[in-house]
């Protein structure tokens, strides 16, 4: 029992329960002293917020900082050692690899949860009429599906970046290991709070939470706001850490243009996350305050304007889309050369196109508002800027194609998912221009065409690359390979099912099926297509279930991975053993060539640095 109570996760949960109780009690107490009747909403909001703080105290997130505040010293992050075994994943570890895996586990859990929400409402949509669930529960589910998966994606990206970036650039850890752990653990209570939204009345706004609807939605809306607010913090902290790590902690000789391309993608992503996430936190906080304190930011009756919210919201939420996809595109560029045995074509152009997408991504938000009733003269300029995204994205596609051209391709599971990612993301990209062009968007906006389009971009830009990355780096984490046969079943089941699903969604969308509807008019003739889409969605879910089984079983029973199993030039494969040891490289390495010179005989990317160089190279890592 005592051992159980020393696990960070458990003490965190206890802290969250206490914090929530304190928050609710505090408000109820104050109101009771003032002789007022208890009020649920303010108490719940304060409870949720203090609950998250309570979790962070419970898990030990503030311990070292409090120690420093007292003027006492703590150990250096480099001296940190985890408990051996699986237990380390349940506690407050400072090792970037452990934190990466923790992010991954939480992300996959939320993915399963968010996917399950989709299965429930897809079952409802298989037929016209309401069969299984109420209208309100349906509406809650679509919003939950959206936001739970967005948080899952953000965590999945953090998982990949945290685990891979220090390994790829030859650092011992992230720049700020304590901040890193803090950022991860913040996401845990935030995830608990967002799930709590279902049990506190839900909300009927979709994930966008537009007021005035969100200003009058049930209490679940507030839980949603609180959760997104803190998950946003987690994202900002993580982004800051990654930027510093990439800029300051690269191996000797690794100038920016010799960095692995994934590091460029993470850099671009982190720049967006660091500078834009505040806006979504702010916009949700403003609606929350409108509800709690009557501040009429978005209430026309009080001089507010509901369109203001949409501008604030999309100013983050559009760039956020690039946060979701850029790391995935980086994974594609990272894995392609390994499996086609050729250099990445146009490395500098691919690297710069990530920054280009990030930059242009900031100037396109109002394309979500072409029909919103914003000033009409804004529509044409935003159409131009939106379509401009096609240019850097095109560079990526053409470069991948040129990389594949004449390549000696090997079809291991990671490669299959990389190819799937390119094709699916291509479909997502090509269905973009009709939405970005105002005139055709007048028809398509808020239809299932949009649903099909963004599922293509997110699967192509995130899900497929994530699976590719997991199959590829899993041996580095566990020392064992995932089962190749199950991996191939996963791929060959998921890809066609997924394509059928999104093609179906786009077809009904073009014909006039609106987004976010619990039921549809039988006269429009959407029933057969919707039925097929539902079947396809269940097949996608089945394939992911196979993936989960593979993930668990291979950890114990997978084929042992020895050495450089992918014949990669990258240091984590060519130098490190599997699983990767604590604090990564025992001896620093020098970068002596380009990262992707496959096919250039005798060339090397990295070589172990001579011993005397160790002292100059060592850089401190301070939390």
């Amino acid at each position: 029992m005592k051992k159980f109570l020393s696990i960070g996760f458990v003490t965190g949960i206890i802290g969250q329960i206490i914090g929530t109780a304190v928050g609710i009690g505090l408000l109820a107490g104050i109101r009771a002293l003032m002789g007022l009747a208890p009020k649920a909403e303010p108490a719940a909001v304060l409870g949720a917020a203090l609950g998250i703080v309570g979790f962070m105290i419970g898990v030990g997130g503030f311990r070292d900082w409090f120690t420093w505040a007292k003027g006492e010293d703590t150990f250096e992050a480099e001296e940190f050692h985890d408990q051996p075994g699986i237990i380390r994943y349940w506690g407050y570890s400072l090792d970037h690899k452990v934190i990466g895996v923790q992010y991954g586990i939480l992300s996959l859990l939320l993915m399963a949860l968010g996917g399950t929400f989709a299965l429930i409402f897809r079952a409802e949509l298989a037929q016209t009429g309401m069969q299984f669930i109420s209208l309100d529960f349906f509406n809650t589910l679509i919003g939950m599906h959206g936001m739970v998966l967005i948080i899952s994606i953000l965590l999945g990206i953090s998982a990949m970046s945290n685990y891979l970036v220090p390994l790829l650039i030859g650092a011992k850890d992230m720049a700020f290991p304590r901040l890193n752990a803090f950022g991860f653990w913040l996401a845990v209570p935030a995830s608990i709070v967002i799930v709590a939204a279902i049990f506190t009345g839900g909300f009927d706004t979709g994930w966008t939470g537009y007021p005035p609807l969100s200003a009058r939605a049930p209490l679940g809306m507030q839980m949603f706001f609180v959760a997104v607010f803190f998950a946003g913090w987690s994202s900002i902290i993580g982004a800051l850490n990654l930027i510093v790590t990439i800029l300051r902690m690269r191996a000797q000789g690794m100038n920016m243009f010799r960095m692995p391309i994934f590091a460029w993608a993470v850099l671009a992503t982190s720049l967006i996350a660091l500078t834009a996430t505040q806006l979504i936190g702010t916009s949700f906080q403003m609606v929350s305050f409108q509800r709690l304190f009557g501040m009429g930011f978005f209430d026309p009756a009080k001089g507010g304007n509901p369109l203001l919210f949409q501008h604030l919201f999309w100013f983050y939420s559009h760039p956020a889309v690039y946060v979701f996809i850029l790391p995935g595109l980086g994974i594609i560029s990272e894995l392609l050369p390994v499996f086609v045995r050729k250099p990445l074509f146009g490395y500098k152009w691919v690297a710069m196109s990530s920054l280009g997408i990030a930059l242009v991504g900031f100037m396109v938000w109002a394309h979500h508002m072409f029909t919103s009733g914003m000033e009409e003269y804004l529509r044409v300029p935003f159409m131009y800027s939106t379509l401009l995204v096609a240019v850097p994205t095109g560079i990526k596609f053409f470069s991948w194609t040129a990389t594949i051209w004449q390549g000696r391709m090997r079809f291991a599971t990671p490669m299959l998912f990389t190819l799937g990612a390119i094709i699916v993301f291509l479909l997502g990209g090509l269905t973009g221009p009709p939405l970005g062009t105002v005139a055709t968007d007048l028809h398509l906006h808020d239809t299932y065409f949009v649903v099909g389009h963004f599922h293509d971009t997110l699967f192509g830009g995130y899900m497929f690359p994530l699976f590719a990355a997991i199959y590829f780096w899993y041996p580095k984490i566990t020392g064992r390979r995932m089962n190749e046969t199950l991996g191939k079943i996963h791929f060959y089941l998921m890809t066609p099912s997924f394509l059928v699903m999104t093609f179906g969604q786009m077809a009904v969308g073009l014909l006039g099926m609106r987004r976010r509807i619990a039921d549809y008019d039988p006269a429009q003739g959407f029933q057969p297509t919707n039925f097929i889409v539902t079947i396809a969605a269940f097949l996608v879910a089945l394939s992911i279930l196979i993936f989960f089984i593979n993930l668990f079983v291979s950890a114990k029973k997978g084929e042992v991975a020895k050495g450089n199993i992918w014949e990669s030039r990258s240091p984590e494969w060519s130098i490190l053993p599997s699983p990767a040891p604590e604090h990564n490289y025992a001896q620093p390495f020098n970068v002596v060539g380009d990262p992707y010179d496959y096919g250039l005989k005798g060339s090397k990317f990295v070589e172990i640095a001579p011993l005397q160089a160790v002292d100059q190279k060592a850089r401190g890592t301070h939390g």
């Binding site: 009927d204 005035p212 045995r341 053409f398 009709p434 055709t440 077809a507 006039g512 609106r514 250039l600």
Partner: protein, 470 residues
């Protein structure tokens, strides 16, 4: 940046006694690295060694099959120098096999391997055949791109992708869709054909262990595929802007219809005639100017057959406008396209496009129907103000309490007290819905705006209507 990687080789030396080898490679090198590259050629061992020493090229291309250049002497000088230099061994014998060594990373085993392989007689045809091999694939894939583009476009343009076209505004929009479909078909085919072709033709065959062809960048190519999409994008935006302009063309004398949305109903007011209706009647081929406003949350006006869409915002200063000219007589539905709460899915109302004569008849009928019976008027106000979307009149339970049998009933309120439903209670329940909420209802659901949007006479009419529902 001081430690940036070496620039692309721009001093290149070609060593071969074979003139075809020298010329062929020189052309290839200039083609790949651009005109800024200086290429010099040597034909004998001594000439080669001399130039290597005096000129210090970045890259030496050596004819691997040429016996007249001594490998041992060359290698000796190559490994002795300390300036960065690479050597590329090109063998035309082994159908254009290429090996590149860097002076700094050359291992003794590689040097041995280099010296011991027997030299063969030159065969220039292989170089030419290798280039045409690459060219052949390129042309072949290019043809496939065109074929697939045609097929995809044929498939998409023969499938019924859009609903019936029923407005003047839909016509330019549909033309733009056609243009976009052509562009999508082409780009899809371009990428997919080259990838799939590569997968099939160049994939690793069993037993093959060597890497793929070594080429890593081509700036002119990158610039081309930046500029072409850029101009395509500007072109598409231009057509998009023109089309948008066409959908917004305003007639000087449109039919004015005020569209009011609320949770979850549509109301259509015809100020010219003093008519309020829950169905939208439109005369064909006459432009309607819709002024759009919402009573509560954001809704969106969309008739898929008309294509155009516009959100309705709450607030007097946020009234928006939409112009629609129906072109096809028929019955359609306006469907709310912005998430607006519980019954969003069902927020649909008929939109009926009729001939001008039929429209006039409808107007006359509506004006005559307003009538003198308060209960009949109340029934109209109830349906045109959205009451009926939450309150049934046949006893079924909906979002709000049913009106059948409501009058005279005793109701338990949220605070536990009981009240008899009479005129006063109903009046309060309409103008201030949160004052006395019944126990099994949810507060804050019913709009609190009826005290402004309904006159006291209209409320009295509605109460008279409720009284008849026993």
């Amino acid at each position: 940046m001081s430690d940036s990687p070496a620039p692309a080789e721009n001093k290149i030396m070609i060593a071969s006694a074979n003139p075809l080898f020298r010329k062929g490679l020189e052309k290839m090198v200039l083609g790949r690295y651009g005109k800024s590259t200086i290429v010099r050629a040597t034909t004998t061992t001594s000439e080669t060694l001399e130039l290597m020493e005096s000129w210090q090229p970045d890259l030496v291309i050596v004819d691997y099959d040429d016996k007249s250049i001594s490998r041992a002497e060359f290698l000796h000088q190559f490994v002795a120098g300390d300036l960065p230099m690479k050597v590329m061994l090109v063998s035309l014998q082994a159908s254009g096999a290429v090996v590149v060594y860097d002076r700094r990373t050359l291992t003794p085993a590689q040097a041995q391997d280099w010296l011991s392989t027997p030299q063969l007689a030159p065969q220039t045809e292989a170089l030419i055949s290798r280039r045409s091999f690459s060219m052949k694939h390129f042309v072949f894939a290019g043809v496939l791109v065109l074929v697939l583009t045609f097929l995809v476009d044929l498939l998409l343009s023969t499938t019924r992708l859009l609903p019936v076209q029923a407005s003047l505004q839909a016509q330019p929009i549909d033309r733009l869709f056609d243009l976009e479909i052509i562009a999508i078909s082409f780009l899809f085919s371009l990428i997919v054909v080259f990838i799939v072709y590569s997968l099939i033709v160049f994939r690793r065959k069993p037993g093959q262990e060597e890497d793929g062809a070594y080429f890593k960048s081509n700036n002119p190519l990158e610039i081309i595929w930046t500029i072409i999409p850029l101009s395509a994008v500007i072109g598409l935006s231009y057509f998009g802007a023109i089309t948008l302009g066409q959908t917004r063309q305003a007639d000087p004398a449109p039919l004015e219809i005020k569209v009011v949305a609320g949770q979850w109903f549509w109301r259509f007011e015809y100020p010219e005639y003093g008519i309020v209706s829950d169905k939208m009647y439109m005369p064909v081929d006459q432009q309607a100017k819709l002024t759009l406003t919402s009573m509560d949350v954001i809704h969106s006006f969309w008739v898929p057959e008309f294509r155009v869409k516009q959100d309705l915002l709450p607030g007097e200063n946020l009234v928006r406008e939409l112009r629609i000219t129906p072109t096809l007589i028929g019955e359609y539905k306006v469907r709310c396209a912005e998430m607006c709460g519980t019954s969003h899915a069902y927020m649909e109302s008929p939109v009926i496009v009729v001939s001008q004569t039929d429209f006039d008849t409808w107007v006359q009928g509506e004006l005559a129907a307003i009538g003198t019976d308060p209960a009949a008027r109340g029934e109209r106000w109830a349906s045109t103000n959205g009451c009926r979307s939450c309150h049934s009149v046949d006893g079924t339970t909906s979002v709000g309490p049913t009106w059948r049998g409501l009058f005279g009933k005793t109701v338990e309120l949220m605070d536990g007290s009981f009240v008899v439903v009479d005129d006063d209670y109903l009046y309060t329940a309409i103008v201030s819905p949160n004052t006395q909420v019944a126990k099994d209802s949810i507060p804050n659901v019913m709009p609190q705006t009826y005290k402004d949007s309904l006159s006291d006479d209209q409320i009295a009419d509605i109460i008279a209507f409720i009284k008849t529902l026993q």
